[in-house]
Symmetry: C2
Subunit: 171 residues, 2 copies
Amino acid sequence: MSTDTYATNMLGAFTTALAAGIDEEISGVGLRSLSAATALVTIRNHSDDSIEVLRRVLNLTHSGAVRLINGMEEDGLVERHRSPHDTRAVTVRLTAEGRNQAEQVLRARAAVTERVFAALTDEQQTVLTPILKMALQALTEGRDSARRICRLCDEGVCRPTGCPVELSAAE
Amino acid sequence: MSTDTYATNMLGAFTTALAAGIDEEISGVGLRSLSAATALVTIRNHSDDSIEVLRRVLNLTHSGAVRLINGMEEDGLVERHRSPHDTRAVTVRLTAEGRNQAEQVLRARAAVTERVFAALTDEQQTVLTPILKMALQALTEGRDSARRICRLCDEGVCRPTGCPVELSAAE
DNA sequence: TGATTTTTTATGATTGAGTCATATATTCGT
DNA sequence: ACGAATATATGACTCAATCATAAAAAATCA
């Protein structure tokens, strides 16, 4: 069963188009970088994570993450706090403004994915969901990988139904 | 018919995961930037396009594109030629090495999309194809948009069957 | 307990992709 | 033929991110 080159080519184009659309929409929120937008949502979902954890989710060097947080702190989006049980670690927390901006990033991403979904027939929407679930399970390769994949998600939404990425990560 | 937030959230995660996977795999080819990789494939598909056309496909400023081509020329991947009918315009053509690297970029992207496809059941693969076709049509907003969406595709593959993006662009 | 290794944050120096402002040459429209 | 539009190019600069390195706290283990 050799893979259908035509279909895989389209999957690539689909990814290019969708990723570009999401990036563009998120850029419209007006944050200093896409990394900042991603960090904002990541922190929203996991408050009080250390810079080191953030570093892995964002796939940056540690100094890169430190500088990203510096900038976001300057912009009044996050605050540094000393971790109570490990005085080396710095935990990062959103300010009210940061929380506000994080919601805007989530809305921006959702706007694009909703637009794509709306272009499909009801039946296509129905069959697509389990396909996405299956693909996400296959793409997940452990805890760190799961955090990276879900880094721009509204995690509250997946909680009740169960996130396939989290399930697969806990294998 | 309010959209299913759970499904759109997963579509976002799917895009994040797939786009990151593709970027990472393409980075493994060892070119100086993702832009260079994209330019390489774009030029492969449309040889002798001008820098100005490239600029639009890659979504760069003109000077950005000029500098990208400078670098790629230094790396021996492309050659500048004066356009025969417009002496202002510079057309860009791949060297043998450039062609070689472009194929590697295509293979890198295909490897990731094939892996995802392979994780699906035969039936899921069958129903996914027309869904992708429909979504791509919806995501295409004209000629320039089509070029951007297909910028990392192996365009030869879509020719026989017909690329939904091109069809939609020619509306 | 005390010494060594590991983990975590931070900073100075640098890189490199990309932008902005501007210059120059060619083509097009009238 | 002249003015507007189009195309390439370059100098100065920005900014995200890296590399190399330092220092402090925690964990390990002898």
